[in-house]
């Protein structure tokens, strides 16, 4: 897998991260190294293998449908960088 600048830009956009030019160059070559190594995985024969997302076969873990008290609002907003009228405040969302 070849990593081009377009791909790095795309990944930055997906991740909502902006790198400086120097970081971007370094990141590109690091990703290139890592992905080249990762590509050795292609040698592994996985035909007919079911992907395993959870290590152990646990199923049906539920909470009962009953209401418990919510958190105190002041606590919830305690760490908010910006807040107003009991809400988190953000720059206006553009439609």
């Amino acid at each position: 897998m070849q990593i081009g600048s377009d791909l790095v830009n795309y990944l930055e956009a997906l991740a909502r991260i902006e790198l400086t030019d120097t970081q971007r160059e370094k990141c590109k070559s690091d990703l290139q190294d890592i992905l080249s190594y990762i590509d050795t995985l292609n040698e592994l024969d996985t035909s007919g293998v079911e992907p395993l997302s959870h290590s152990f076969p646990v199923t049906n873990v539920f909470h009962e449908d009953c209401v418990q008290e919510s958190k105190d609002r002041d606590g919830l907003l305690l760490n908010a960088p910006f807040k107003k009228d009991g809400c988190f405040k953000v720059p206006k969302t553009v439609e």
Partner: protein
């Protein structure tokens, strides 16, 4: 009587018998922190006021003769990615600097119920991403055995603090070796429990399907005692599991006579340093002397462990870390002028380079067009890796291997070359992928007198067997030195 030299169980015994007041234990450990931590940087914060307040309460109950847990009154330190209510929990990131959780992790509640005392939050690699503890926003940690070297990571502070006698016990987290590898580098003992045996509720997620919280201590018995307290099914964690209750006294009563131990030959192949390999082979002989049957076996899938690990871990990480956006908590860029800026600038300024790199990699393996060939492929590799372990466990009770290919690296050595750093995780990541328990115990020293660790890997939820073996091994050997013993006192 140097309180800080004691193991946690020794201290607990003396607190229980009232030979030592809890306050004195706190004084002693905080004294060491004050004395050494400017040098080692194990702690991000300490919480002395609540600790002393708690000590008074517990002391009163001990004085009243109330029966309490095996580690009652013992100070404990916690990696800074485990949420502690009203106490800053930073993940060693600018992103969460000053972040005060509004709830405590389940393990914190359990330790509190066992009358242990939280004394501080430990430094680490930022968001637990790294193997050297050099990526912390709060500065790198020094290895107590050699200040020019790293303590390993990501639970570097958790291992180094125990090694430097700035903590009796600590909690770390292990996603791909983050407990075991720093234990190996710092000459202490640490357990990465079976996935699902310790609640992850309140552990700030790096890779949810791999993360586990585990104990780090001076020896196996302490580790086992703390594991007993923090383990067990938790209703708040849907991935935590029901299993027979772990009881630490079983660990100190066991034997390894007749136990079959397998060493994956692929763990001793290319890339391992001579000193580490020798130490493992010595350990093999020691275990044989103790009555175990040890043999090597082939496990060719080892070479696919790192690719599978980094795909899975980074994919989950990029999703888990998307919530850090400068809106609800944490760092928000003062330069942001609109919503898009709030996201991009806050994340770009608030997260470190290693974290960004893994987020980028995670975005790549999940993005449309690459999902099948990377992420899905890695999940199939995961299945095969787990299967190889299960196959091995039809023949062996325990698997043995090195924790890391080398001893502690010099600072700065791997920072510029992330792939090299990733390759150092080769022996540990597989265990997380398979969900298995493994204990890291000291098993020798290299030519520079740096500690070497080995790991004993067990069947799912069979921590008892590997801890028994580790315990017997520790009793029979003499690797439990502290840097203080070797160098005539900590610098």
């Amino acid at each position: 009587m140097d309180i800080c030299k004691m193991t946690a169980l020794e201290l607990a015994g003396k607190i229980h018998s009232k030979e030592i007041m809890i306050k004195d234990a706190l004084d002693a450990v905080y004294k060491n922190i004050d004395k050494f931590d400017a040098e080692y940087n194990c702690y991000i914060s300490t919480c002395r006021e609540p600790a002393y307040r708690r000590a008074v309460e517990i002391q009163a109950r001990i004085d009243a003769g109330e029966i309490i847990s095996a580690l009652a009154g013992v100070p404990v330190s916690v990696k800074d990615n485990i949420c502690t209510k009203d106490i800053e929990t930073t993940c060693a990131s600018l992103m969460l600097k000053n972040f005060k959780p509004i709830y405590s992790a389940s393990v914190i509640d359990k330790m509190e119920a066992a009358d242990m005392i939280l004394i501080g939050k430990l430094n680490m690699d930022e968001f637990a991403m790294g193997s050297t503890s050099e990526t912390s926003y709060f500065g790198e940690i020094s290895n107590p055995w050699d200040k020019g070297r790293v303590p390993g990571g990501s639970s570097g502070g958790a291992a180094a603090s125990v090694s430097a006698q700035e903590a009796f016990l600590s909690l770390g987290s292990d996603t791909g070796g983050s407990i075991r590898q720093p234990c190996s580098f710092c000459g202490v003992t640490g357990l990465k429990p079976t996935y699902g045996s310790v609640s992850r509720y309140g552990l700030i997620a790096y890779a949810s399907s791999l993360d586990q919280i585990g104990p780090i201590a001076k020896d196996v018995a302490d580790c086992a005692a703390l594991f007993e307290i923090i383990s067990g099914k938790d209703a708040k964690d849907g991935t935590s599991m029901d299993f027979p209750k772990f009881e630490y006294p079983n660990v100190t009563n066991g034997s390894i006579k007749g136990k079959k131990i397998g060493i994956p030959a692929d763990y001793l192949g290319r890339g391992i340093s001579c000193d580490v390999k020798d130490a493992i082979l010595n350990a093999k002989r020691e275990l044989e002397n103790l009555g175990a049957i040890v043999e090597e076996f082939a496990m060719p899938i080892v070479k696919y462990a790192i690719p599978a690990y980094y795909i899975i871990a980074c994919a989950e990480a990029c999703s888990n870390l998307s919530r850090y956006d400068g809106i609800k908590y944490g760092y928000s860029s003062p330069l942001a002028e609109n919503l898009k800026d709030t996201y991009i600038k806050s994340r770009s300024e608030g997260l470190g380079m290693e974290v960004k790199r893994r987020i980028m990699l995670g975005n790549f393996v999940l993005s449309s067009g690459y999902y099948d060939s990377y992420y899905k492929k890695a999940l199939m590799a995961k299945k095969l890796i787990q299967q190889s372990f299960f196959d091995a466990f039809t023949k062996y009770d325990i698997l043995l291997g090195p924790v890391a290919p080398t001893t502690a690296l010099k600072k700065g050595e791997s920072l510029s070359d992330p792939l090299k750093m990733y390759l150092g995780d080769i022996y540990t990541v597989m265990i997380n992928i398979a969900g298995l328990p493994a204990v890291s115990v000291p098993c020798g020293f290299d030519k520079d007198n740096l500690p070497i660790g080995m790991q004993l890997i067990g069947k799912p939820f069979d921590e008892t067997t590997i801890l028994q073996a580790a315990y017997v091994f520790q009793k029979a050997t003499d690797f439990l030195k502290s840097p203080a013993d070797l160098q005539g006192g900590l610098s």
